[in-house]
Symmetry: C2
Amino acid sequence: MTRKWIDVSVPVRTGMTHWPGDPGVRIKRWRDLESGDICTVSELKMGSHTGTHMDAPAHFIRAGRSIDRMDLDATIGPARVVRIRDPRCVRPEELAPVGIRRGDRILFKTANSSRCWKAEGFVKDFVYVSREAARFLARTGVRMVGVDYLSVGGYFRDGVETHRELLSRGVWIVEGLDLSKVRPGPYDLICLPLKILGGDGAPARAVVRPRGKKSEAI
Amino acid sequence: MTRKWIDVSVPVRTGMTHWPGDPGVRIKRWRDLESGDICTVSELKMGSHTGTHMDAPAHFIRAGRSIDRMDLDATIGPARVVRIRDPRCVRPEELAPVGIRRGDRILFKTANSSRCWKAEGFVKDFVYVSREAARFLARTGVRMVGVDYLSVGGYFRDGVETHRELLSRGVWIVEGLDLSKVRPGPYDLICLPLKILGGDGAPARAVVRPRGKKSEAI
């Protein structure tokens, strides 16, 4: 079994798909070796919830914790990639037999990973976490939930409700993962968001590594 | 000994100090719960070399490798924090007795960590890596070099030369670390830059954890 780190982040690029109504993404050369400058430097413009990113409680909860105040243990450590077969949303019924426990870090691999990132433009009918499943996860006391498209809540429903269920109970959210190269199972996870002071969320880089039965704590 | 992860990243905020001539940093609310919006979202504008960040070879080398093509092993794994006492720059003479080896990940803790981040505005006379020390590190074949202010090369000298010595030989560079809370010694390091397609560099988050003699590979 390979023990190499696998990148589960999507590339950040000009014009990339983002949540409708959020700021667009533009990466522009500020200096350029090709134009005779001494070095190449870029200017980055993007929303705080671009590509692979994290949501802080402050995203949906007034006076909620900001991203720079996240406990690093929330996103560094053992995690599980859980396959979701439901083509519409994550429901408590599919989670019940999975054996989710307090403190878990859970990444949901849905049909999104193979479908949404290849699509032209924003996919509205992506697989989301239902408010009922979010309540189940929050009450179980999971530490972190990761999803493989741009929102943990749906576009047509449960957008606000799912976020509030999780964020109001201190569950950190990773969105915009590409899990297409990753099978369900146990992993070591590292997800590090930019340390944006007072941030409602932040772009992040996320990597996983298959975890053997005898793996040490990360 | 604590085995908790220690954040060695500087916070990203509007108006923060950046390399002279680089794009300014502006974090602006795009939506705001406090204004009655359904959630809070921000727009981020910054240079690719803002705060704690990485330099890719493409920063100074034409057709050099871009940041999205970095091997993750460059910045995930055992590392050493090396104290530098020279008040002006890192010189080969101070490195010789340190026992630096091929494949090492080296973070230099200089006077910068206690001085530069507290200063108002940009500090020009920060401690940098001399071109001679850069050549020594590159020839030794280190994997990664990290420094505790905004550039590995100096403001008045060795700015271009030090970058080229390292980047032309495939040494990845982390700049803008705050090592004020970290003693010299062995650590586990994780530094993850944003995955900017074709990027000359990228803002990053970096964390370290003290490493005991019996520590497993990260």
